[in-house]
């Protein structure tokens, strides 16, 4: 309960920070929505009254005009307020989305890793998707809450005049409505998970249909029938899941409708009795008859909205969970960042991914000398990328520490720390839309540095061939006139991006995976040019490249199994040697290649 209150306060605070006047609008429309039906009902009552009493024609027309004039004003105000509510609803949802996504790009990276963290984010995002999710409907829910509650009070106080026993009937009715509402909420909770699973399946199928990468496979493997069957099965699962809810809704409908009819019968027969006794004028019959319908509707809507709003407050909690995460890195002032010649040391570093049982990096001790070229090799899943992520400060070690020039990583302001590293990642993501933007990213523009980078990265030729040069758009999804860079070209641009940042440490993660032999060769040739004055870490499967590094470390199950120069490791005849032999087997120019022993593979996936 306490949590709900807290969530309510947080929700109100958020709405105020969006636009304080939103509450004035809500109050305004609530008042009008409550009063308007009553006044309109009174109009018909009065008209009948006037007609039965045979008023003067002129007086009738004048009174009528006044009445309708008031209604006109109220209707116009209602509409204006309604428009504002609609507008606020849409904009508030977008406001929440913006807040959410801004937090996502500013949070410390370790807070985003792992299944739990991903779920936190997904749950929060789901609240802003469309007009029927939390932030799309909470505004209208508040309006509904206010108007039905107020309406309840006003309308029932009118009807009680018929007979105070009405209060008891009303009480019984409200009891049953609430009871069924609770059942419905419980039922919704029960089938929520199943329903979400079905929706997930539908969304996935839809995604598959439009997946262009599948186009070839779909035809050659004739996958259409598979999809059709799966879709039909999912439809059936949905209907089966919803069956209990359908039955509950049917029973609810029967009980509630009988209840409403009961109240109506009561109201009608009571007023007829009072009319026949002469206690009330005939026109009042119309009043009471009309009021029952309005009251019943208000009750239904009120109970419904209370249930929905309670759910909304719970969902608000999910939003808070994501937004209120504490930083893990230092964001305040830290040690001064060294300018050149970094000495990097790892002391007993251990790291486990969230939700994993075994550590990915285990007790690593390593000293990286200034300007050293270090290669990191190992099998898939051995922890190579994790190691570089730890060194570059994206992840934090669970045990042990990382030292830069003998100062612990933790003591630096995290943004300062990041300025020491430039990585070329395996995933080539683009959040910048021209070549120039991609190279510069979020750094300030320096003409000299920029030109130097273009020359060094080999992009000069490509840029000169393009009509718009480096202002050419490269993301087709955003600019219709964008070009599609080939794998090799994109690699060069990403390399330029890293070079432009001009950091003491350069990290390359599988930089030649998608390249043909000639392009690969070019990268290796240039490697020394651009890593001249830098410390550089080179992660790769291709052992051809690692030979040229000063040292090579071989990671196995998260530990450094072997370390040394290429020659040293070959002489050791250990794991590195086996890996190298496996890869170079077919390249060796031995005349009697048939006599070469078959190297037994020993790797596990």
């Amino acid at each position: 309960m306490k949590e709900k209150w807290q969530n309510l306060i947080k929700l109100i605070k958020m709405m105020v920070s969006y636009r304080p006047r939103i509450f004035l609008t809500i109050i305004g429309i609530v008042l009008i929505q409550v009063l308007l039906p009553v006044i309109q009902l009174y109009l018909s009552v009065q008209v009948i009254e006037w007609l039965i009493n045979e008023e003067e024609i002129q007086t009738y027309l004048i009174h009528l005009a006044i009445f309708i004039g008031v209604i006109t004003l109220l209707k116009i105000s209602e509409h204006q307020f309604g428009v504002t509510v609609d507008k606020d609803t849409e904009l508030f949802r977008n406001y929440a989305k913006t807040r959410l996504i801004s937090n996502f790009v500013s949070l410390d990276y370790p807070l985003l890793i792992g299944k739990e963290a991903q779920e936190k984010y997904n749950n929060a995002v789901a609240l802003t998707w469309n007009p029927w999710t939390l932030f799309g409907r909470v505004n209208k829910e508040l309006v509904s809450l206010g108007s039905t509650f107020l309406g309840l009070i006003i309308y029932s106080s009118i009807l009680i005049q018929l007979d105070s026993i009405f209060l008891i009937y009303l009480g019984i009715f409200i009891f049953f409505v609430t009871l069924f509402n609770i059942f419905q909420v419980k039922m919704d909770q029960k089938i929520y998970d199943e329903k979400a699973k079905v929706t997930k399946k539908w969304q996935y199928l839809r995604k598959l249909y439009g997946e262009s990468r599948l186009a070839k496979d779909v035809r050659i493997f004739q996958m259409q029938h598979w999809f059709q069957r799966t879709e039909e099965e999912t439809d059936q699962t949905y209907l089966a899941t919803m069956k209990p809810k359908v039955w509950l809704t049917w029973s609810e409908s029967v009980v509630i409708n009988v209840g409403i009819i009961g109240l109506t019968a009561f109201s009608y027969s009571q007023s007829v009795r009072l009319v026949s006794e002469g206690a009330i004028p005939i026109s009042n019959f119309v009043l009471y008859a009309g009021m029952v319908t309005i009251l019943a509707q208000s009750i239904l809507e009120f109970i419904n909205v209370v249930g929905k709003f309670s759910t909304s407050l719970n969902e608000m909690g999910k939003f808070n969970t994501f937004m209120a995460q504490e930083p893990v890195f230092l964001h305040g002032e830290g040690e001064k960042v060294p300018k050149e010649s970094l000495n990097i040391e790892l002391k007993n570093v251990t790291y486990t991914y969230p939700n994993n049982e075994a550590p990915t990096i285990r007790n690593i001790n390593l000293q990286i000398r200034p300007n050293e070229k270090l290669a990191i090799v190992g099998e898939n899943g051995a922890g190579k990328s994790t190691l570089t992520n730890l060194i570059s400060g994206l992840l934090q070690p669970d045990e042990g520490e990382i030292l830069i020039n003998y100062l612990p990583q933790k003591s630096f302001n995290i943004l300062d720390y990041y300025s020491l590293f430039a990585s070329v990642f395996q995933e080539k993501l683009l959040l910048t839309y021209t070549i120039k933007e991609t190279i510069i990213q979020g750094l300030p523009f320096d003409q000299k540095k920029y030109e130097k980078t273009i020359a060094l990265s080999g992009l000069k030729k490509l840029i000169s061939q393009l009509q718009k040069g480096d202002e050419t758009a490269i993301v087709k999804e955003v600019n219709a006139d964008a070009i599609q860079l080939s794998g090799g070209q994109l690699q060069k641009v990403k390399l330029a991006q890293a070079l432009y940042k001009d950091t003491p440490v350069l990290i390359l993660d599988e930089p030649t995976a998608a390249l043909d032999p000639i392009a690969e060769h070019q990268i290796y040739k240039d490697y020394f040019k651009f890593s001249k004055d830098k410390t550089s870490l080179f992660v790769s499967h291709r052992l051809s490249s690692t030979r040229f590094c000063d040292r090579i470390i071989y990671l196995k199950d998260g530990e450094i199994a072997e370390i040394g120069t290429h020659q040293e490791l070959i002489e050791k005849q250990g794991d590195y040697y086996r890996l190298y032999e496996a890869q170079s087997y077919y390249y060796k120019q031995d005349k009697d290649s048939e006599q070469r022993e078959r190297v037994t593979g020993g790797g596990t996936l």
Partner: protein
């Protein structure tokens, strides 16, 4: 396309997709919309009995009314959950229609970026365009109830025509029911005119702003998609992009605010005259009918019925017209949708069945093959004439962009040659029935994609599969042991995109499953495009060593950047700028001065 024809087509499609939904909905709506009118009828009767003091009749009327209401309420209540369920299902179908087309359209359309963009566009606009199928369905649910109300209203209004006009004194001749109807029709027409004008204006304003916002929206959409991948966070932080991105988000929000303000301003202004007119009509109704009563030409009870019916009709007609106007205001989406849906499906120009052979004797030959992508002049393949022997292993090498993958797509008939022929067992391949021709090939493409369904289903490409055959195939690629350790074995789902119980496998394991898929198909011709790109050296080596075993007596084509693979092939085809410049065994080609030697040395030098 003719405006009305396209909407007619939309109506047919909507009905096809959601037959049950619309049936239940109609029943429910008729029950619901009839209620107020039944109420008016009984109200009139009850008032008249009260005025003439026939209380006994009053009571029986009340009972009748109660029973009728109960029945209508119950019908509505029964239908509601059924309507909701069917709505979910049919809406889901509507959203997927365009995407589903991708599965059957002709391959060169499915691969074209232009077509993909069109699909993106159609899907993006699904929720915001006035003529999109889901929105049309939504608006229909405003139009239909209004129609019912209008019909009922007109029925309830008919007593106006049996008014005893003789009773009206001469100076009030203008209080004639005919005059009422005329004034009424006039007022509605004026209101309609204003509505139509303003609807047009607001629809125009809406589509103008949507077009202006389209670039922003595309960017926002794209960024949202990219940011879904947590890994994007690494680059954002290391390259200080957060500031820029935050600025972008703020700008987008401000832009949206401006658009909304502008749009709603139009709504605000147009509502005032409409409201005033509606109330004016209300005044006219009450005054005319009231006068008729005061003059003795109408009973009081009828006033309730008539005024009730008239006010319902007054709100129903504009709602109906307005919604219809909105529906047809912007047919752009529908036109684009149908242009997309009318793209040609996989053609079955060929019809000869492929002969079923047990001996895998399917011989391919290519003569004078040339190919340019549809819509482009540039030939990406030219002058290719080759004969391939059954059961031999061919390696295909060359630089990126030299035409290797395109050649494969032509062999498998995903594309048709621009010039020249591909022959299968001496017959032009395009003469064969397409589906049967596809069955000749087991392919692992470079950008293969495993689906979130179970391992067994992925391998067999079928919801049901032969367990032992799947396990055999898994053993052949070296995954058998691993799969046996899983609790659900080959029924384990891959990844959690489809089913939460799925598990993630490594890149190398994925590659092996993709290879298993091709093996399971047991097609006579195997094609592997960069099958070991994501594998570590040991696994890669394993695959190479076993390659012979895997493909046995099948004809095989093997594309790879790792030239080491070409050593165990029978022959190597070297592609350069769209042509096959060299062909022969590794021994022969590595001695020749040429492209192959260049490529080989570039890679091998590091391993000496």
């Amino acid at each position: 396309m003719n405006k009305y024809r396209v909407y007619g087509r939309a109506a047919k499609d909507l009905f096809r997709i959601g037959k049950k939904h619309y049936l239940y909905y109609s029943i429910m709506t008729i029950a619901r919309q009839s209620m107020p009118f039944i109420g008016f009828i009984y109200m009139r009767k009850i008032i008249d009995t009260l005025i003439s003091n026939r209380i006994g009749d009053t009571h029986s009327l009340i009972i009748q009314f109660i029973c009728t209401s109960l029945i209508l309420q119950l019908v509505q209540g029964m239908m509601q959950p059924l309507v909701d369920n069917e709505q979910e299902i049919s809406e889901k179908k509507m959203y997927a229609e365009a995407s589903r087309k991708m599965l059957r359209m002709h391959f060169h359309h499915a691969e074209s970026t232009a077509v993909k963009e069109r699909l993106e566009n159609i899907n993006q606009m699904l929720l915001s365009s006035q003529s999109s199928l889901p929105l049309l369905s939504l608006r229909f649910k405003y139009v239909f109830p209004s129609l019912i109300s209008i019909i009922w209203g007109i029925i309830l209004l008919h007593p106006l025509f049996i008014v005893d006009t003789a009773v009206i004194p001469s100076q009030f001749w203008w209080v004639h029911p005919g005059a009422i109807i005329t004034m009424f029709v006039l007022a509605i027409s004026i209101s309609l005119f204003i509505q139509v004008k303003s609807s047009k204006k607001s629809a125009e304003a809406l589509s103008r702003t949507i077009h202006e916002a389209s670039e922003w929206r595309k960017q926002a959409f794209y960024e949202e998609k990219v940011l879904e991948d947590i890994k994007s966070g690494k680059e954002i932080r290391l390259y200080r992009l957060s500031g820029r991105l935050l600025e972008n988000f703020q700008k987008q929000h401000h832009y949206l605010t401006d658009i909304m303000n502008g749009m709603y301003r139009v709504f605000r202004i147009t509502a005032v005259p409409t409201n005033i007119l509606a109330q004016l009509m209300s005044y006219m109704i009450y005054s005319f009918l009231g006068l008729l009563v005061l003059l003795g030409a109408l009973k009081v009870g009828l006033l309730v019925q008539l005024s009730g019916a008239l006010s319902q009709v007054i709100t129903a007609i504009p709602t109906c017209i307005q919604q219809l106007m909105m529906m047809i205001s912007d047919p752009e989406w529908l036109n684009e949708y149908y242009a997309f849906m009318d793209l040609p499906d996989e053609e079955t120009i060929g019809s000869i069945p492929v002969e079923k052979r047990m001996d895998n004797q399917y011989e391919i030959a290519v003569s004078n093959l040339a190919f340019a992508y549809p819509g482009s002049e540039e030939l990406v393949l030219k002058n290719i004439t080759e004969q391939f022997e059954v059961g031999k292993k061919y390696a295909i090498v060359g630089e990126n962009g030299s035409g290797k993958t395109t050649f494969i797509k032509l062999l498998t008939r995903l594309y048709e040659p621009t010039e020249g022929l591909i022959k299968m067992n001496k017959i032009d391949s395009s003469k064969y029935e397409l589906r049967e021709y596809f069955n000749l090939f087991g392919v692992v493409f470079q950008d293969y994609h495993l689906l979130g369904f179970s391992i067994g289903q992925n391998i067999s490409v079928n919801p049901d599969y032969n367990h032992s055959k799947v396990m055999n195939t898994l053993d052949e690629v070296g995954l058998g042991e691993f799969v046996r350790t899983l609790p659900k074995q080959s029924d384990t789902y891959l990844g959690t995109e489809f089913d939460d119980s799925g598990m993630n496998v490594s890149g190398g394991q994925e590659q092996k499953i993709a290879i298993a898929r091709s093996l399971y198909k047991d097609a006579p011709i195997m094609i592997l495009d960069e099958p070991t790109a994501a594998l570590d050296p040991i696994t890669e080596f394993d695959i190479y060593q076993n390659f012979d075993n895997l493909v046995k007596d099948k004809t095989a084509f093997y594309i790879s950047h790792r030239l080491s693979s070409s050593k165990f092939s029978d022959e190597i085809l070297v592609f350069d700028k769209g042509e096959i410049v060299q062909r022969g065994s590794h021994k022969k080609l590595v001695e020749q001065d040429g492209k192959y030697q260049e490529l080989w040395n570039a890679q091998a030098q590091y391993y000496q």
